[in-house]
Amino acid sequence: MKEALQAFLDRNLPLPGVAACCARLVDRTFVSHCYSDWFTTAQVEQSLSRLALAADSLGYHGIQPARLCWVFEHSRIHLTLRRDGACLAFFVENRPGVDNDKLQAVLEEFTRLEAP
């Protein structure tokens, strides 16, 4: 899936306002890109690990998340989860000009990517 994912990211990114993106595959390997110096690769990968754990823990509360958006003061982190366990996060700046519809469309497309 790594090649398919890479091609998918290359095709859709960068997007206005997206400072970084990071995907975690089923085998727990990461594919990440930082489009500004705001985030480092290590930061986004560690963050994604935390985000995935947090999403898992929602199951205890009877919540089955498909997509999540963590909204912070300076940025928001969009996370989408696939049924096979892979997930993708966009680290987006809080600024005008962000194409939210496009972001959602890309996240949605990620869930439909064919697994190898």
Partner: protein, 352 residues
Amino acid sequence: MSGETTKRKAFLFVDDDAGFLTGIQELFSEMARGKWDIFTAENHAQALALLAKLRVDVVVLDIGMPVMDGIQFLQLLARTNPGQQVVMLTGEVTEERRKAALEGGAVLFLEKPVVADSYAAIFAALDALAGALPQGGFRGMMRRVGLQEVLQLECLGRKSSILEIFTGKVRGRIFISEGSIVHAESGVLQGEVALYGLLALRGGEFNLLPFAEPPRRTIQGQWESLLMEAARLSDEGQKFLEPDEPGFGAAEPGEVATAGALDRSAGQVRIEEIVLCSGAGEVLYEWDTKSLELRLRLLEQIEQQAAQLSSLAPVGRFDRLEIITPDGRIVCQVQPDRRLFVRSAGTKAAIA
């Protein structure tokens, strides 16, 4: 000579067994020696027609009746004739029936005797119950009355009473002692939190019961201030539901996160659950929450996870988490002064 002016006691027996009604009328008339008026009805329609024309002290209901059983009729009576004393008299006693009857407001749950002698005990119980009824005051019903109005009446009149409130899912009591609200309880909640939660209910039923000392007095302060605070919190709760955001994850941090974001795309969103807490975690408003404890734990967990994320990357102060699920949308907002959980259901199209 007889100076006695004893009030005659009136009873209505409702039973689909005409033979039983005839028998009980003859037997109890004899036992009452002219002090009872006994009316009978073979179904709920006859009973309602009689109750519309006359007032009885006690309605004695059979449970196993066709079309509308006694338990259902009991519930109907609670609406049509609130305050009416009802005794259930059945030949089929089960714990489930007893519980349903007493929870439905029946004063007594009695078994139909199988031997004639035992009817004396039933007679004595009914006679005592009818004689124990309060004689003063009015009995009636008020429609579309807010709980605040009822509380105001009680407090202004410096009354002592218990306002019992119940909806399909919520049961609670507000204790008023000499015009002061002294205690409230609703589920596991007690004190002002329970009071505000009960006063925020949008509909339901209530009973005013004689005052009894609560397990402990948890509320102090002027009733006027308490009701004003309840109104303010209720308004605040409503404000959270107003749609004001352009879409999922698209509002500015610091704005009130609501479930209204889906409204504009679909127009078919139903709020299903709300929990609003103070910054200290005190529950201020709760609506249709299945497990309050679980929701409070979730908000706490999200706060901790957000703090971890803030320490990992330069994202700034946490505002909220928005979750899209197959059924709808959830917003969990954690701010220094409040914590909010809102769950809404929307159409699939809206979510996509």
